[in-house]
Amino acid sequence: MIRKGFFKPLTWFTALGYLFLYLPICVLIAFSFNTSRFSVVWKSFTVQWYIKLLHDPLVLHALKNSLVVAVVAMILSTIIGTLTAYGLYRYRFRAKVVFDGILFLPIVTPEIVVGISLVIFFVLIHLSLGLKSIIIAHVAFDIPFVMLIVRARLQGMDRSLEEASMDLGADEWTTFFKVTVPQLLPGIIAAALLAFTLSFDDFVITFFVAGVGSTTLPLKIYSMVRLGVSPKINALSALIVFFSITLITIADRVQRRSV
């Protein structure tokens, strides 16, 4: 048994760790409701910074770009990632180890390396930088994540249902869509939501592959930060954090649900 005396300081330490994780985000949210421009002192509660955001055409344009990119990247990467997870689960082939390793690479490659190699590539093939190049990049880094989440679901799946379906005369195509996909659905939805969030929040890769007029929200925040700390950035950041947390919570709930 672990002694009680050993237990207590550990609990305190862990609590401090969580405080460390969440305090800065709380500070950010608190400041976004502060009247004072100089955020050291608390003056009074206000929502004026949020209202100012809604009247900023540049922020709204960036929001539109972010949504377009995240939705398209989510759809493409969810389809490709799910097919990949299924293919790796269903078939055995010799190059599987290599394939696994290659899918692992985009996850560990520093974002800045991905960003600059893509910008070199896009310039070489004369693809103009804009929403299209951003979407291409996002799909590439979303695929491995979708694949991993769907694969985790596949590994917990009851294979006998698929076999029963085939025994009863359904071809593989029908079995995939009528038996496999419905069972995987919670995993696929969770993966889609996370792919959306990753894409919506991405800064570094987007920073390199974006062009004039294709500013997304994270890029907008970065350029605002460069000009100096302002309550408007706090408000925008607080909204994005809130949005991400909501999506991730839903994804987590969906993923835990059994079929």
Partner: protein, 299 residues
């Protein structure tokens, strides 16, 4: 009679060739990752051996110069700083993350799920915003300096932002989840009867921890260290916002070459070195942690 549809024909064809079917279903992924991830890396490698042209372009002349430039003390310093800060971050996070992971693993089932979710949550939220939050706290007119002055601990603001210390704090903050999760996974599997045996045999808590707990959770320690070290070496946002121009890391050097300096070949070389460090780290991890199974651990 109805003609057999195209779908049936495709199915029949694929039914006969299992390998082809596997290839068919994997081909969108092979295409996308191959063309938009691997191929660009190859081009980046090629660029790193080219000469810089006018206005940010390149001249197709082979040169080693982009790599030999790293012998310059200026760039060597950036390389060493990157290494130093990443290693210190990994060490700090081992010390901070281990007790946290241990406590989570020992919590009741209900609490454990909540605590784990609270660690994962920041992982999926924007690094940029989480780093920016620290600017609010650390800058000269920020929260911390404000508090210090109100409490009369300091007279004038301390410089905390744009220092190496600020980068370390930011890295520790941003990558804490990367350390806690793999540690948790290995501590959770720990067989507590072994700890009891150690205690029965007279081991003090300290030695029990060092001789039993640590070796048994080695896989988590190694995986966590790798997952923290890799993104720290390649970091850009944290060092850009919290370190500024005075404490550049490799990531910032790369950005500089692709931004204002307009030297794409040199930036590619820096980026290639970054990639090499990452691959060496993975290779060393596999060697110490033992093969393919270890790769699964990281996931």
């Amino acid at each position: 009679m109805k003609k057999p549809g195209l779908r049936i024909m495709i199915l029949k064809f694929f039914n006969r060739h299992e390998n082809l079917r596997a290839f068919g279903i994997l081909s969108p992924c092979i295409f996308w990752i191959g063309v938009f991830f691997l191929l660009p890396l190859v081009f980046m490698g090629v660029y790193s051996f080219l000469e810089k042209g006018l206005y940010g372009g390149v001249r197709w002349i082979f040169t080693w110069e982009n790599y030999t430039r790293f012998m310059d003390p200026l760039y060597l310093k950036i390389l060493l700083r990157t290494f130093r800060l990443s290693l210190i971050t990994t060490l700090i996070l081992l010390i901070v993350g281990y007790p946290m992971a241990y406590r989570i693993a020992r919590a009741g089932k209900r609490w454990r799920n909540i605590l784990l979710f609270l660690v994962v949550l920041p992982f999926w939220t924007s690094d940029l915003i989480r780093t920016y939050a620290w600017m609010l706290i650390l800058r000269d007119t920020g929260l911390l300096n404000g508090l210090l002055q109100v409490l009369h601990i300091t007279g004038k603001p301390l410089t905390m932002l744009y220092t190496e210390g600020a980068i370390l704090l930011g890295l520790t903050y941003v990558y804490l989840p990367f350390m806690v999760l793999p540690l948790y996974a290995s501590i959770e599997k720990l067989d507590s009867s072994l700890l009891e045996a150690a205690e029965d045999l007279g081991a003090t808590p300290f030695w029990r921890f060092l001789k039993v707990t640590v070796p048994l959770t080695k896989s988590g320690i190694l995986a966590g260290s790798l997952l923290v070290f890799i993104p720290s070496v390649g970091v850009f946002v944290v060092s850009d916002l919290l370190g500024g121009a005075k404490a550049m890391m490799i990531g910032n050097l790369v950005q500089l070459q692709f931004g204002p300096a307009r030297n794409w070949p040199f930036g590619s070389a820096a980026s290639f070195i970054l990639m090499a460090i990452v691959l060496i780290a993975i290779f060393m991890y596999l060697k110490f942690a033992g093969g393919r199974e270890a790769l699964e651990e990281v996931r």
